[in-house]
Each structure stands twice: as C-alpha cells, then as structure tokens.
C-alpha cells in the first residue's frame, strides 16, 4: 500500500542486541492492565477514536434533523426506536444528541483522547525516562476513563434517555427531572461519569507533572525540552488546578438532585408546583463549571499547539521560530486562562462590572495566541517543507486556529457578545478553534507518531485524501454557521420551522449537513488507514521523519523501559534543523557539540567559557578549510 520512500536512517540496526522478553508478559498484563506508558497511550488513543466516531455519528444524526426538519427517515427508527418514532428524531432526543456529542468530544476525545494519548506516549520518550513516575496510577487513569465512557454510553439504554441539558448542564434544567426527560437517570449517569472522568484526568495529570519534573534524563533541562512536553506539562497543571472545581460543582449538583439541597435552586415553580428549594443560585453552577470550562478549552488546544509546533518544525526542516516566546506564550495562556471564565457569562445577569473585567482579561489572552500564530508562520518561512500527512494536518490546525481565534475577539467583547451569545456564531467559533483545530492537532500527532506507537507507517496517499477532504469540508460546515449567528439564530434549536426569519437558512443547513456527511465518510479513509497499518503498514525505519527528539533514538520494537541499556544523554535543544555547517539537516539532541564543531554557534554554549574557548581554537584551526568549502 504505502509508497513512502524514506531514506533508511543510519541508526537502524544498532539496537538489535537488546534483551527481549526479560519480563514475562501475559495477554492481560500486556494489552489490558498494562502499566507500560506506550500501551496505555494506545489504549487512550483507540478508546478516543471509538468515542470520536460515536460522537461524529451523533452529530450526523442531528445534522440530518436540521437540514430536513420535515422529512422522515424510517431507517432511523430501526436504529433508535422510540427516539425516532416514525423516522423523525424527537425534540428531547435531539437535545440529548447535542449534549452527548459535546460531552464526548470535549472530554473524552479532546481531553482524554488527546492528552491521554500523547502525554502518555511522549513524556517518558521525549524527556528520557523509562516510564511514568507512577505506572500503576497511570493504568488506573485509563481504566477510570474507560469506565467513565461506559457509564456515559450506558445512558443511551435507559428509559428516559441520556442527559439533554446541553454539555454545560446548567441547572435548574439539569437539576429537575420534570424539566426535560434527560434530567432523570440520564443526568445522574452523566454526573457519575464526569466524576470518574475527573478522577482519571487527575491521576494522569499528576503523573505527567511528576514525570516531567523529576525524571528527565541527564542534560535535559527545562529549556531543552521539546514544545510538546512544555505543552503537556502546562496542560496537566491546568487540569490539576481546574478539574477539582468541576467535581465540587458536580457533587453539589448531585446533592441538589438526589438529596434535596438547594445549592443551585431557588424560587422555582414547575407549572403550578412550587418547589421547596430556597436560597440557592443557578449562577453558582455557571461559575464553578466555567472555572473549569474555560481552562478546559486550553486543556484541549494546548497539546494540539505543542504537537503542531513540533511537527511544523520537523517538517519545515527549521528550528521553531522563537522557542522561548512559544514557551512564554504557553505560560501566559495557562495563567490567564484561569481568570477569563466570566466571558461565558456576560449575559447571565451577573454584575456588569464583572463583565468589563472579564472582557479585559479575555482580550489579553489573544496576545500570546497571536504570538504563537506568527511564530508558526515564521517557522514555515524559508523552510524546506515536507508535506507528510502530519504536516498537512499541522498546517490545517494553524489555519483553523486563526479562523476560530479571530472570532474569539468578537465574542470576548462583552458588548458584541450581547447579541452573539448562544447563537450559531458561538457554535461556529468554538468548532473551528477548539473542535477542528484540536482534532487536527490530534490527527497530526497520530500520523506523526504512529511509527513510534506501532512500528509501522501509515499510508501517505490515504492521509492526503483524508486531509484535503476533511479540511475542505470542515470549513464548509463551520464557516457558513457564523452568518446564522449574525442573523440571531440561537443554537440548540431542534428545527428552524417555528420562525419565519430562519427559513432562509434551511438551504444553508442542507449544504452544511452534506459537507458534514462527506467529512464523516472521509474519516473512513483514516480509520481504514489506521487499523490496516497497525498490522500491514510498511515497517518504519527508526527515525522516519529525521527528527531530533529523543523518542526516535529508542528502538522500534516495543520495550518496557524504552531504551535498552543506558538512557541517552541530551546535549542540545531539540530544534537544530538545517544548521549551517552541519552535514545533515538535522542534529539529534543526543549528539554532543564536540561532534558538530563545524556547525556550533556561540549561542549554543550558554556562557560556558571553556567550551567557547575550545570552539574558538577549533574555528581558527579549521577556518581556511571552511572557507574553501564555502567557495
């Protein structure tokens, strides 16, 4: 299948002598309750992919409803039974679909599927560690996540259906079973699933932080870490600090729902039935939720940023432009993301003074984001770009991040948000910036590190097909939605049939739905490519992309402990690509400066005067030769 012609690397075969099978691994310990970070990464990835396919399927279902609100699809009844009686999706089930689609995508795919996969895979391999700090905790992290997925999906098989109050589950709608059928048992399952998920996320996060801080190999100081690691590190910190707040919120909601407390409820009358709750505030939930919820969108996008930075640098054959600026902007985003949550609440009736404050912090966060974008562009400039599928997806990620990020400037402006809040404009905005961009970052990572996970290469041409169809269709889906929002069409509407002014958008919905269907079918190319290549893909050389980072010095074969013998020492930063004077256009981190005398720059020695002296002497001794080379 594959036609990738990669020059075989020089290191190939040097590690053939490592000891095989010094642990006795049973099927259960190798594939199920594995404590090897690489296997756990694969478990996260495959679970994430399955959840993504499910969530994508759900989105196609509600897109069908939006495009053809008056049509009936008898085949749906075959699959969905009473949820689609007569072949038409019911309004409450429609809301359940959007709720579960959002929940799965945000938490299970883009948080666990993304961070879980790549933090687990890359942290030990890129910082030079044998495994995570706590392999057992790591295993638990996956199994809590898996259980959370199962609990969430189980809500499709209960009488009252899954949670349907939107993925933000604002009470009182989510707190009162009478308000909507999904707020019965389905909501309880949602909450339980979320508690399990947060537990998983915390166990993972603690592991990532400890591993990065304590288990770096010799020479790997913080400023020599790849941007992926920086991104995972800061993401994990964000998660550790913000996810517990969600648990607090969830527990209070469980109390309100099941034990009659009034944290979020007050002055409520359902029909004429006066509820006894007094003194609570639904706004409290929104504060608690968005205190996680906003950092959450950075938890989703920062790993994608790190992955894209790495891939863009490798495939442009250029150092990432402004390495330090990239890190400081990540740190800036991390810190600021804790004080912007109120921009989700401009129109809740919260004190307008707060609205002004949150607007200021929100627009400040656009500055580090802009810096990152410009740095990516500068990295591409005068590069020698290899369009691997991973690179295409990384470029796509940058494009989506720009398109979606710019509309963030609209929504972050409290005055504009008055009219855009909860409209399709918001839907378009976050699907581009956090949906599409993060998914593209994730797909880029899958294509790039597939050889590291499975020792084989994915097919390049299918990757191209996958990218171009998905990229085009994603824009076709989300770009027009902005205009629905500008026309004041609210989100989460079951049909546009009740308002005359919305009729004109139904044709746009048809276009959007068809684009979504084609995009969904394009994922078949990916799924096939992925699963086929696991077993039948072309065997990968050890360093297929000629990258500098440490993971490509580890042998192709899966090995518990990552490196046979000693862990390599790191001498330089990970971005020495196309360095003038070097023979190759890449110099791995493990190559000491003494072996690259011809390409060393004064800056490389970080003020080490002895090394500078040695280099100067070498330069004097070799200068004539150098000159001759240049001429």
């Amino acid at each position: 299948m594959s036609t990738i012609s990669i020059q075989d690397t020089h290191h190939h075969g040097t590690h053939d002598d490592h000891g095989h099978g010094h642990h006795h691994e049973t099927f259960l310990t190798k594939y199920v309750f594995s404590q090897d970070h690489k296997m756990i990464a694969k478990q996260f990835l495959i679970t994430g992919i399955i959840m993504a396919v499910i969530a994508m399927g759900l989105s196609i279902l509600f897109r069908l409803q939006l495009a053809w609100p008056n049509e009936s699809f008898p085949i749906l009844q075959t699959f969905l039974g009473k949820w689609a009686e007569g072949g038409r999706i019911r309004p409450d089930f429609y809301l359940a679909l959007v709720t579960i689609h959002g929940t799965i995508m945000v938490f299970f795919v883009l948080t666990a599927g993304l961070s879980g996969t790549f933090s687990n895979l890359l942290i030990p391999l890129q910082v030079g560690a044998r495994d995570m700090a706590s392999p057992f905790l790591n295993m638990l992290s996956y199994w809590f996540f898996f259980t959370a997925c199962v609990v969430m999906m189980s809500s499709f098989f209960i009488q009252t259906g899954p949670a349907s109050a939107g993925w933000t589950v604002y009470p009182p709608l989510s707190a009162i079973a009478k308000a909507i059928p999904g707020s019965g048992l389905g909501m309880t399952l949602w909450l339980v699933s979320m508690v399990l998920f947060v537990a998983s996320s915390l166990m993972g996060g603690i592991n990532y932080v400890t591993t990065i801080l304590n288990m770096r190999t010799k020479g790997m100081d913080l400023w020599k870490m790849p941007l992926t690691i920086w991104a995972f590190f800061l993401t994990a910190i964000l998660g550790i600090l913000s996810f517990p707040v969600l648990v607090a919120g969830v527990v209070l909601l469980i109390f309100d729902r099941s034990f009659g407390t009034s944290f979020y409820l007050s002055d409520i009358v359902m029909g004429t039935q006066i509820l006894p709750n007094e003194g609570g505030s639904p706004i409290l939930w929104q504060h608690l939720f968005w205190f996680l919820g906003h950092p959450e969108v950075y938890i989703v996008i920062m790993p994608a940023m790190g992955i894209s930075s790495e891939i863009i640098s490798v495939n442009s054959r250029k150092p990432i432009f402004g390495y330090h600026a990239m890190i400081y902007s990540l740190i800036g985003i991390t810190v600021l993301s804790f004080i912007v949550w109120g921009h989700h609440m401009f129109v809740t009736g919260m004190n307008p003074l707060l609205g002004g404050v949150f607007m200021i912090t929100t627009l400040i966060i656009a500055v580090p984001s802009a810096v990152k974008t410009f740095n990516w562009l500068a990295t591409l400039w005068r590069g020698n770009i290899r369009f691997t599928p991973a690179m295409l997806f990384a470029i796509g990620m940058v494009s989506f991040f720009i398109s979606g990020g710019l509309t963030g400037i609209w929504l972050g402006n409290a005055a504009l948000d008055i009219n855009l809040h909860d409209t399709y404009f918001v839907v378009a905005h976050f699907h581009l910036v956090m949906g599409s961009a993060a998914i593209f970052g994730m797909l880029a990572g899958v294509y790039h590190w597939f050889p590291k996970m499975f020792g084989r290469l994915m097919d390049k041409k299918l990757g191209y097909l996958h990218f171009w169809v998905t990229f085009t269709c994603a824009y076709l889906v989300f770009f027009p939605l902005h205009f629905l929002g500008l026309d004041g069409v609210p989100r989460r509407y079951y049909a546009f049939t009740e308002f005359e002014f919305m009729q004109k958008w139904v044709t746009v919905n048809v276009l959007v739905t068809w684009s979504a269907i084609i995009a969904a079918l394009a994922q078949v190319a990916f799924l096939f490519n992925f699963f086929y290549s696991i077993f039948k893909g072309k065997v990968s050389p050890q360093n297929p992309w000629e990258a500098n980072t440490l993971e490509w010095t580890a042998p192709i074969e899966r090995l518990h402990g990552n490196w046979p013998g000693e862990i390599p020492t790191v001498y330089r930063w990970p971005y020495d690509y196309s360095k003038p004077g070097a023979d190759e256009d890449f110099i791995p981190q493990t190559v000491p400066f003494s072996q690259t005398m011809s390409s060393n720059l004064p800056h490389d020695f970080e003020g080490n005067t002895i090394a500078e002296q040695v280099q100067r002497e070498w330069d004097i001794a070799n200068k004539p030769a150098d000159k001759a080379d240049l001429d």
Binding site: M1, I268, M270, F387, N419, R492
Partner: protein, 421 residues
C-alpha cells in the same frame, strides 16, 4: 500479481465500510426517507435503497483503492527505470494549498457578499447602533488579519515546499520581530478593549433622563412561554412572589401590593418608539434567555434572581418593514438558552409603535386582577356589566384609563380573561 493485490484491496474496502456502517447508514437514510412515505412503513424499499447507497459507497472505496494502486504502479515503474520519484507530493500539496487559498478567498468573499446580506438588519435601538459600530470595527480588523495570515500560511506552504537541492534557512529567533508582533496585537486589542468597555458601560450604566423616564415592563419566562406584565397607569410593576403562584395567578402577583392592582397583561410586547424601556427579567422554572436580536438585547432570565436591561427602541415596526423591504417583518422575543424540548418554539411578537399608537393600545390591555383573584386576596369584588366575551375591548378601554388610586381599582369591571396558560 497486481490483480491479486486488487482483490485484497476489495476486501479491505469492504472492511472499511463495516467499520463505519453507522456513519454511512446515517448518510444514506436521507434518500431512504424521501423514498419511503410515512404511515405504516413498508421497510422493504427503505432497506433496499439503504443497501444501494452502501454499495455505492463501497464502489467509491473500490475506485479510490484502484486509483491508489495505479499511482503505486506508476511510482514503482519510475523507480525501476531509475528515474526520480514518480510523483512529487510536495509539489502536489503545495499547489493544492494555493488552489485552496484562491478558492477559499473567493468563498469567503462570496459568503460575505451573499450570506452577509442575509444577516440582521441595522440595530433598532440606541445602544444597538454602538454595538453595530463595534461590530464593524472588529469585522474589518479581523478580516484583514484573517486574509493576511492565510495568505502567508498557504503561500509559504507553496513557495517553501520541499525541494531536493534546497536547505531551509536556520533562523531560530529574532527578538525585534517578536517584540513587534507582540506589541502590535496588544495595541490593537487595547483599542478594542477600550471601545468595548466604554460601550458595555454605556449599555449597563444608564443615567436616567428626568424628562424621559423609562417605561417598566416585566417579563417572566417559563417553559415555554413569555409572560408580559405592563405596570398600568401608576407606572410601577407590583411585587410578586413565587409562593403565591396558583392556577389563576400564574405569575404569583402579590395583590396585597397596591402597585399590582392595575398591572396589565399583554399578548405582545408593544413599545413606544424613542422612549427608554426598562425590562424586568424574571423566570419561573429554568434559565431562559430573553433575546431580541433586532434590538441587540439579550439577558438571561434566572429563577430566583431579577435582572434588568434598559434600552430605547428607535425604529418602529412600520419603518422597519419599509427598510427591510419586507412587509411581513416582525420584531421578536426568542429564547436563546436551552430550556427544554420546546425551546425552539418559544417566542413572542414585539411591536414598536408611535407614542400615540402605544397610548391607544395600552389602554385596551386587560388587568391581571380578576374577580377570582379578588376573592383570593380578599379584595372587594366588582360587579360585571358585560359577559365574559373575549372581544369586549371598548368597555375595558374605558375602565383602564382611569387612575387606580382607590381600593376599587377600576370604576367598571373588566372582562374576565382566562389568563393565558
């Protein structure tokens, strides 16, 4: 040999379809739906057409597999002939990026030109104009950045596509450039923040004009309706208490409060043009969002918390009909916060009229207080001269214009309206 591979490919394609049976059947259901009519459905044709589309998709997969094979054969022959790589994928993708850029930019232009024309008409309120100004500034600024960055992104992708004989330029950082592109966005955003902040303040911190005092109107949301309460002649919306809600007092109005006695109910929100309106927003059950897109007004209605939004409508419904060239144009209140299964239906018409028309209209509106409620609140019951006809408009007009300064709120009785449930 290649034939054998082809067969292998077919089975692979079939497998791929199985993987996504879920997604594809959804896609296909559309045609299935149109093919089969409603009522007791004969599923035969449905399954048949579904199968048809599955096969069609399989065929597509097969086609892609054959193209893939052909490409591979081509590349292999090139390789065996000792020539350079068959297909220069860097060039292909670089060119595709340029094509995408060109088509994409045209697409964006088309969107702005066509869909951009379908968006909301100009703001029909004073503060809305300021919001629209901000909107335009932001739109222009972001569009410029959007186009420039995408030009750079896709053109770099084309011009710096990988070539054998070239080496990338080692350029790890340039502090000056980085400072510039940190400070420039920071300045641009500061300007936007300041503008936004001032606009925001001017919307929510209103200084009352003593000569043009706002009209108070209370809005109560519940699943799935909007209830409107006008203050009556005293201009004050009376107290209410959710604990007083009964079948006949659906808002829980406290008629012990004198200000409540003349409060009126209305089927639509009618506002006099040019007069500030102070909306008192409350909710009975879950959170809703009071959204009037044409006036750039939105605020959530939250149970247990009263919120306020003050604005001044500037364009009457009739004027707007002329401006939009749409005789059926209607201002609307819609709900934009998910509130239950009929969320998508929740609405109320709004009309902006001249002050004279408003005076005439408001006089016809019916008080909330009915004889049943009088009994409940131990207020003197008033005799009923007219039978409860739904259109007894003229009588109630006379009644409502009188100032309700006595314990008997209106000198004649009003019709008994069944409070809209």
């Amino acid at each position: 040999m290649s034939l054998r591979k082809l067969i292998v490919n077919k089975t692979m394609a079939a497998l791929a379809v199985l993987f996504t049976a879920f997604a594809s059947t959804n896609a296909l259901a559309q045609e299935a739906g149109t093919a089969a009519t409603a009522k007791p459905i004969d599923m035969g044709p449905v399954y048949q057409s579904t199968l048809f589309y599955v096969l069609l998709f399989l065929l597509l997969c097969l086609f892609i597999a054959i193209v893939g094979k052909a490409l591979k054969v081509y590349e292999l022959t090139r390789e065996t002939q000792g020539k350079a790589d068959g297909i220069n994928w860097n060039l292909v993708n670089g060119v595709l990026f340029v094509v995408f850029l060109a088509v994409g930019l045209y697409g964006v232009y088309w969107e702005y030109a066509v869909h951009g024309k379908m968006i909301l008409p100009e703001a029909a309120s004073e503060h809305g104009k300021k919001i629209d100004e901000m909107f335009n500034v932001t739109l222009i600024l972001t569009t410029i950045v959007f186009v420039l960055t995408h030009l750079a992104l896709f053109l770099f992708a084309y011009f710096y596509r990988g070539q054998k004989d070239r080496k990338a330029y080692y350029y790890p950082h340039n502090n000056l450039i980085e400072k510039i592109w940190t400070i420039v966005p920071a300045i641009a955003l500061t300007i936007l923040v300041l503008m936004g902040f001032l606009t925001w303040r001017s919307i929510f911190y209103k200084i009352e004009d003593p000569n043009n005092k706002p009209l108070s109107v209370e809005i109560t949301s519940s699943q799935f309706q909007w209830d409107i309460r006008y203050p009556g002649a005293d201009g004050v919306v009376g107290l209410k208490n959710y604990k007083k809600i009964t079948a006949i007092n659906n808002l829980g109005i406290d008629f012990g409060d004198k200000n409540s006695l003349d409060d009126q109910t209305a089927d639509e929100l009618v506002l006099p043009v040019g007069k500030p309106v102070r909306l008192i927003l409350t909710s009975k059950d879950v959170i809703h969002s009071f959204y009037m897109p044409h006036f750039r007004v939105q605020l959530n209605t939250v149970p247990g918390m009263t919120s306020y939004f003050e604005f001044t409508p500037t364009i009457t419904s009739e004027q707007m009909k002329a401006k939009t060239n749409d005789p059926s144009f209607k201002y609307l209140i819609i709900c934009s916060k998910i509130c239950g299964d009929s969320h998508y239906k929740m609405q109320k018409p709004v009309r902006v009229v001249t002050q004279a028309e408003y005076n005439e209209w408001v006089a016809k509106q019916v008080p909330y207080l009915t004889n049943d409620l009088r009994k409940e609140f131990h207020l003197p019951v008033v005799a009923e001269p007219v039978s409860a006809a739904a259109t007894a408009a003229t009588d109630s007009t006379a009644a409502n214009t009188v100032s309700p300064n006595s314990d008997v709120p209106a000198k004649t009785a009003t019709k008994q309206t069944a409070i809209k449930k």
